[in-house]
Amino acid sequence: MALLDDHVREEVKRELAGLPGAVKLLVFTQEFECDYCAETRSLAEELSELSDRIEVEVHDLLGSKAVAEVYGIDKIPAIVVLGEGDRDYGIRFFGVPAGYEFSSLLEAIKMAASGDSGLSPEAKEALAGLKNPVHIQVFVTLTCPYCPMAVQLAHRCAVESELVRADMIEASEFPHLANRYGVYAVPKVVMNERVSFEGALPEKAFVDYLLAAGS
């Protein structure tokens, strides 16, 4: 059974119309599919049916160990969003991007297709001065209306700077990580294990934290 109903399919078609470049979704799952692994794979496949610019490549976490290592995939389900010519901007989704996070997946696809982060000129300039790699993990739940702001901002930073990688992590699918990082409210953002905060911050405050994490 299709995950997306006709109404949502129409909206998605409209959102993805005229993508300026090709996008590849790498989906990581395993032979005996985990909770939401099958849904994540189906979701990617259904999206590729709605746009001829989207290609899907399904990998087995263990079977494609080398590929998983290249993209830093250590848990499933996972989606890596690649741009034109398989360019890796550092956009990752761990757990199914359903609920409010579905819009983050659509945004990530549009961003990867254009290569434009859409950040303000000030934020772009600030990120150009980033010195060290920053790994952003944004913990979310699928019923949190504020979470996509944090996820999309993190992904924008990843597109803007080659030093940034940004993961959406659906907290209820990875309770061990939620536990390890003390996730009791979402969105919770962890940067390089040393900076963390709750809430969807405005762009400038978010970028300031990012620069601190990469200093």
């Binding site: 949502v8 939401y36 739940t141 003390g182 009791y184 409210a185 405005p202």
Partner: protein
């Protein structure tokens, strides 16, 4: 496994036109702001809708059963339908932007955002709604994000199999309990009043969960316990009596709301509760500035009432602009 839903949400951070004099700027995109946007667009007003999110408090409500036309609809689905209707019209929508100040500039109004953007408007509708009221007890501020939550619908999934307490036995508290019944292990409810103040349909649903939910009515919260994270809560009977300690990992605070009227302080007349005072045409104390929905002193905070007030505010703004042209 829960049924998955997929929501196509607005593009965040879409550009607004700075220093472009809009006919009307609507601040806030809950039911009042969204309805105002539709009415303004139909009057062909050059309109900007600017808001932190689309849906406002509707997004924090899991079930809505009293908005006409729908027996049952989730808050996010209703917000999505509102949004879809707004997007049929060619108005500017800036999501992810918080307006922090509103002032008069010549004949126009100047709005500034948290990010320092400036917006100019010939008329304004403030529809910024309300946000959760804090308890103001020791331990609360320190433990926000460490087990203290003001957004049950956001954070409930993080408390699977855990023991939690919901403070507040009104409609929002009862709704949080209903959400948590499916997720948490044990749910305590604490309220200073002697019983539920929620709609009877919600109370019945909670009663059906049996012993999983335990109530402490006519109790007040003394403090929240824990260092790194919430470990418990101390309550005592109102009017004195022995303190009771409940071991919980989550504290959901649902004791009512305060208006998001900071941007209007010192500019518009507010009542004692901080709500913007409006007349029956949604006019505030400053001509050209209108207000609608939960941020105003209009009684009864309901989606359907906010929507109606939003419509009225837009029509009043239109009448004001026509009058200005003369």
């Amino acid at each position: 496994m829960a049924e998955l839903k997929f929501l196509v949400a607005p593009e965040i951070g879409k550009a607004l036109k700075e220093d472009h004099p809009y006919d009307l700027v609507i601040v806030g995109a809950g039911p009042a702001g969204l309805t105002a946007a539709v009415y303004a667009a139909r009057k062909k007003l050059d309109t900007l809708l600017i808001s932190k999110d689309i849906g406002g408090q509707t997004l924090l409500t899991s079930d809505i059963e009293n908005y006409m036309g729908y027996h049952y609809i989730s808050g996010k689905e209703l917000a999505a339908k509102f949004e879809e209707q707004v997007k049929k019209y060619p108005i500017d929508i800036a999501v992810g932007e918080e307006v922090v100040s509103l002032s008069k500039e010549g004949d126009d109004f100047l709005l500034t955002t948290a990010g320092g953007k400036r917006v100019v408007a010939r008329s304004v509708i403030v529809a910024t709604g309300k946000r959760s009221r804090p308890l103001n007890v020791p331990g609360e501020r320190e433990l926000v994000g460490r087990g203290v939550s003001y957004c049950a619908v956001c954070d409930a999934p993080l408390f699977a199999g855990k023991d939690v307490v919901v403070i507040g036995a009104g409609n929002s508290g009862a709704t949080a309990v209903v959400d948590l019944i499916k997720i948490a292990n044990r749910i305590y409810v604490v309220d200073i009043m002697p019983g539920w103040r929620a709609d009877p349909v919600l109370v019945e649903r909670i009663a059906a969960a049996g012993e999983k939910v335990e109530t402490f009515f006519a109790h007040e919260v003394v403090r929240i316990l824990g260092d790194e994270r919430v470990e418990g809560i101390v309550i005592r009977p109102r009017g004195g009596g022995e303190e009771v300690e409940l071991k919980v990992q989550g504290v959901f605070i649902e004791i009512g709301l305060i208006p998001n009227s900071d941007l209007a302080k010192g500019f518009l007349e507010l009542n004692e509760a901080g709500e913007i005072v409006v007349d029956c045409r949604c006019r505030t104390s400053v001509p050209g500035v209108f207000a609608a929905g939960d941020v105003t002193d209009v009684p009864e905070k309901q989606v359907i009432i906010a929507a109606g007030e939003g419509a009225k505010a837009a029509l009043s703004a239109y009448a004001y602009l026509i009058g200005q042209r003369r």
